[in-house]
Symmetry: D2
């Protein structure tokens, strides 16, 4: 996907994510977000839920974990850019995160 | 621990759990609770958080999982009955569960 | 699936599993096996791998874990009996287990 | 720990790790290694085992996962350098990895 965010369809799909803590990265070919948790068990159990969905959808995050922090980057390696699958996984990650933010 | 729930100390420790879905089992030598989740990834990621705490405290649940349901039983094998460690793990399991019940 | 193990196809699919520690259960409507590990982290990390494949294939085990032991039962709830999906998951569970048995 | 690898004690503890795929990083204040797995479920289940031990020992890796690859960095944040705890976790990570390399 070489289209930029100015493209209407892209904007509709990704704008809500950009309003929710995600940012464009890698020259607009990826989105990234940092999640913070109460402690390491919380961070890792969230990662486990994400891992299960990622494998089910065959779309995996690039992510870095240091204690209670997880930095996630999503891109579609096959196309070298963003696709609806990135948005789908991002929304699932956000949804799963809500349980940890009370 | 051969004392029963009529014992004052026992009651103080375990009564709040019995008010929160736990029930005595195995002739008052264990407590048990069934947790229900939205789906399997939710159930298993909760189990992951519990697993990490359980190993850290060296006190593990007996548990059975079928899809989105987890039946947990806590007892202290060393003493053949309930100890404060069971209450501690039960409270942690309940605390971790709150994120999944919204 | 109401066919029994005397059925030729069934035998071809399930016989290798019965030779590898699995046993018929629930009136030949399920297969069951007990896995033993070195410690709890080993048992639970194996469960994590199984969990990911189970969700990916939308076919989940009934399993009970006590410390380093996991008792697994496989059946296909939709049909009330055994199907090739049970054999597929059983083979994957055995394959994943080999890494823990050295 | 401001001592370098030329220090005798350091060498005894870390040399076996450096012979086993680990390399010094961050100006000799950390060690790093890249693990490769067959697929994502293998990588993540290994991470789960490591996560459980890490929390138990209250010493956590910095790690980055992309599909079947995990890049791990170990350092002791409290001291700003390497300590025996880093070596202990590194050895456990290697031990847990052996099950995945057959």
């Amino acid at each position: 996907m070489t289209k930029t965010l100015s493209d209407t369809t892209e904007a509709i799909v990704f704008d809500p994510l950009l309003q929710n803590g995600w940012a464009m990265s890698k020259g607009d070919n990826a989105i990234a977000k940092t999640y913070r948790f109460k402690d390491f068990p919380a961070a890792f159990s969230w990662m486990t839920a994400v891992a299960i969905w990622a494998e089910k959808w065959n779309h995996h995050p690039e992510w870095r974990n240091v204690y209670a922090r997880v930095e996630a980057t999503l891109t579609t390696h096959d196309t070298g850019g963003l696709t609806p699958l990135d948005a789908k996984l991002a929304r699932k990650m956000d949804e799963l995160y809500t349980g940890f933010t009370q």
